[in-house]
Symmetry: C2
Subunit: 116 residues, 2 copies
């Protein structure tokens, strides 16, 4: 490779906004996947070194920006009753990764012949 001609690549990130603000980004999607895995918001938060409060606020934000909640909590008090994804939560994860695929493809295609 000729070191005088660097290979440039396009990088980026994306997120989904509702009129009220951020609805879904990579961090929120990873949190949803952890909730699915651990069946609990507090265990999911712990596994990501996130405070329960922060995780709860993210879940609350997602639930409020959606026609249907993404996460449902069983009764049992603060972090005690377990939590699971709704069908809408599953759809949100699917939608995010589908967009990610298109986004990555755009970046890869637009990276071709990127030179000054």
């Amino acid at each position: 490779m000729d070191s005088s001609i660097p290979t440039y690549h396009l990088k980026g990130r994306f997120w989904i906004e509702s009129p009220q603000g951020t609805f879904l980004g990579i961090g929120r999607v990873l949190l949803l996947e952890r909730i699915r895995e651990y069946g609990s918001i507090s265990a999911a938060a712990r596994s990501m070194q996130m405070s329960y409060r922060q995780a709860w606020e993210l879940v609350n934000s997602m639930n409020q920006h959606s026609p249907q909640p993404l996460v449902q909590s069983a009764t049992g008090g603060k972090g005690g009753g377990g939590a699971s994804l709704t069908t809408t939560g599953e759809k949100a994860i699917e939608l995010f990764w589908a967009i990610k695929q298109d986004f990555d493809l755009f970046l890869a295609q637009r990276s071709e012949h990127l030179q000054l």
Copy 2:
């Protein structure tokens, strides 16, 4: 508008990387445009509430990640001799805004029918 069906939009940002790291993002492009406007790195930095040191480091990074410098300084010591964009600098600005147009178009198109 039915408040139960939020309108989601895709948002994002992008930047150009060389194998050595970030080459060009919106902040760097705005700095280049200010250098063109003010004819000086220090005046450009001041106009953006950026330190001369930070502006100089960004310019240095861009120059080093490119086959040709983007900014050339006249002699005259630290911030004293003026600076101007090279043809490569002009091309970099042009390239960035051209990609921005494609990127925004992608986001707008992928935002259509975005629902859960």
